[in-house]
Symmetry: D2
Subunit: 242 residues, 4 copies
């Protein structure tokens, strides 16, 4: 398999308006993710909401094997046309990694068909992300769990379709659980949702969290390049009877 080409997409708004966030991520939340993936040998670009076409032109997507997505305060500003473009690429085989508050993004809800709702609480509490499927490629190299001392809580019920594969389940100090690492296939494309990453915590500097994103990028990269046809195909009667 050729080196996966990853585009790290980031809303990039909180950092410009909330000092609490820019103190933690002075170069944006996308920067430590992109840096890590690059160091592991992947071919990495970044794109952000305020670029033309949100940085997701046809040309960029055509050269993207895996797209990661973090958004929160401006989900509604993402243009429907770009969302449809991303969906089409996923169905054609591009991998998609949705991070944290991306559970409520247009693209995630469009691919899932559900509301993406969940419970949440900001209380700087402890999270333990337990490995449920220890033989899964996304869990490669991890121990039994990842522990984050301070994170936002997300709790069930998380309104998603049943994951095709459930890799992680989180435990929160305050009493909740959450399906934190979920895999689905849509068309020829793979989708992975990964829970942690609140903007006021240095979660995307955590080496185990980064390792998961890297593993997921390897897992989600398409295995072959030919897309499935996106239009209905009328087929002639093959005359096995003749």
């Amino acid at each position: 398999m050729a080196t996966p080409r990853v585009t790290v997409w980031h809303e990039y708004r909180h950092e410009k308006t909330h000092k609490e966030v820019s103190d933690v991520y002075p170069e944006g939340m996308h920067t430590p993710i992109a840096k890590y993936l690059r160091e592991q040998g992947l071919d990495v670009k970044t794109a952000t909401l305020d670029e033309p076409e949100h940085g997701l032109t046809e040309a960029v997507l055509a050269e993207t094997d895996v797209l990661t997505w973090w958004g929160h305060m401006a989900h509604h500003e993402v243009q429907d046309e770009i969302v449809e473009r991303v969906q089409k690429r996923v169905l054609d085989g591009m991998g998609l990694i949705v991070l944290h508050s991306g559970h409520y993004s247009k693209i995630f809800r469009k691919l899932m068909g559900t509301s993406g709702n969940l419970k949440w609480r900001e209380a700087n509490e402890k999270e333990r992300i337990w490995v449920i499927d220890s033989g899964h490629p996304i869990a490669e190299g991890l121990g039994e769990y990842i522990e984050l001392p301070h994170e936002e809580m997300y709790g069930e019920r998380f309104d998603i379709p049943t994951p095709d594969e459930l890799v992680f389940v989180s435990w929160f100090e305050g009493g909740e659980v959450f399906r934190s690492g979920c895999c689905w296939t849509r068309g020829r494309g793979k989708v992975f949702y990964f829970r942690p990453g609140h903007e006021t915590f240095p979660t995307y500097f955590n080496p185990e969290v980064l390792k998961v994103i890297y593993n997921a990028a390897r897992w989600a990269a398409p295995h072959a390049i030919e897309p499935i046809p996106i239009v209905n195909a009328k087929v002639p009667l093959e005359t096995i009877r003749s």
Copy 2:
């Protein structure tokens, strides 16, 4: 469980413009389905595209436990607002049974997140619908397969998310297979796709086909009435530590 209330929704256009169809279904394709379900003791209404709000007002949906859906030539005429209304009700617990060419309806594609594409051929060929999951409630009372002497062919690859449960797989005389009976959960609602039912064949008079639709209505009816909240819920920190 109370008697399920079923609304049989039908596009009802082919019958008005194609004599070939009205010859088979003089009262519309919805009529034999509604009649059969009523005879089994269900509480049945019908609704059609050309009624105001397509017959799917808030009031009608609020009193519908299971909605069946057949559409084909006028998918694009179904208003987006009504599609969103139906989706919301499914997420709140209403069952949805999508029939035949409904694979390409707005509501099915919206709930699936995929294109709904497939192969097809009109060659009046034989179909055998094999029971794959013989213990499933939707297969209750059937033999090993249902045989239809003349149907339209639908072939793989069918662009759907992996079904949560796969009940039927079809064999076609011309050389294709198809996942013909597929179950998913979306929110609190159950969705069943059932393949047969081309408008020029008397498929919806076939007692085994009707039995499947009845079984599916029983299976898809919600078990309880309280909906899940559709908005995010911020929860206070429960102080197990105090």
Copy 3:
């Protein structure tokens, strides 16, 4: 559907040797379960390890729609022949509800193909059993979670095949999570594993726990009576070509 016939199977050893257990369950752990199911209108028998053939004769199983199973200290005393008999009945359509320490029983491991291993700790800690699939019949009538003030902890990784349906996930005060309510199909039979029920706690007097067992019995009862053939079937060539 006729009234499900349930056999509540219990190892019934702890109560005879551990005062701590007989203080909580003076008539055995099976008694409150059987009593509750009877009160809900099910047709209920009990059977225990020390009866001839463990109380699971061919005749008893032939009249059992759903079998519940609690065992712990004497898993190894269950005869292989009886285990195979139970397995065969499950494949033919009998439901099986495996409770708590039954995760390590011969019958559960035989049906799963895995070790059934897990983590555990006896520390009288709080458990919250979260409802993950709120539209599932087994979750009918429950709130968001069941809270048990004192239970034994079971933790991941639980060595089971991926459940076909995941209904509950537990949170434990000490920091663990566990897939607490898991559904599988084996042959025509349905299998449900339900976690709580340590012998020193009055868990099987908890009305919500009992409600889950009742819901599961309804869910697991077979929908039809004819078994699938247990031997290979050689079929003649059907000559569609002729």
Copy 4:
């Protein structure tokens, strides 16, 4: 990932007693499989039933990442002790590829928990193996289907647990369908069942069939080496409350 080490296990009996088989496979059915996998760069050994310990010593299994299994007339001669040894290795992470009549082997039935039954017919009929999950690594490089002009028929209902992933469905000329490419996880190990390969046909010389076995070996190879502990683990109370 290091080069996967594959052990191609073969019953190797038909070739010694049936001229019809040795005419097709003069060096045994395992030979063309092993040869192909070697040519693709995998590290390949073979092992057969009549070797001591069936060629599957602890030492051999310890150095095997993926085991392929073909057996038919002598399933009952495989020693239970060796079956348990293979199962343990699968749960620890070894991949297992079960071929054709291996559906009735002790190891497959032990890992599945079901009977492995199916329908069958020897009528030299045409099989089409349709790709259902075109983005799956096991389908890499294939077209829409593999066509085999002459094969034994296997038909549903195939008594297996619902596959975690369904890659292929077969169509047979005589009127049947079959889930031909099925994936499961057991413990840390991956299991793939692949249908074609009757001993009187040159199926294992077919380049597409061989390609699937190669793809499956890549997919099934474990991602990491540390096994999960096979015994229960009692864990101390972690005192988050202190």
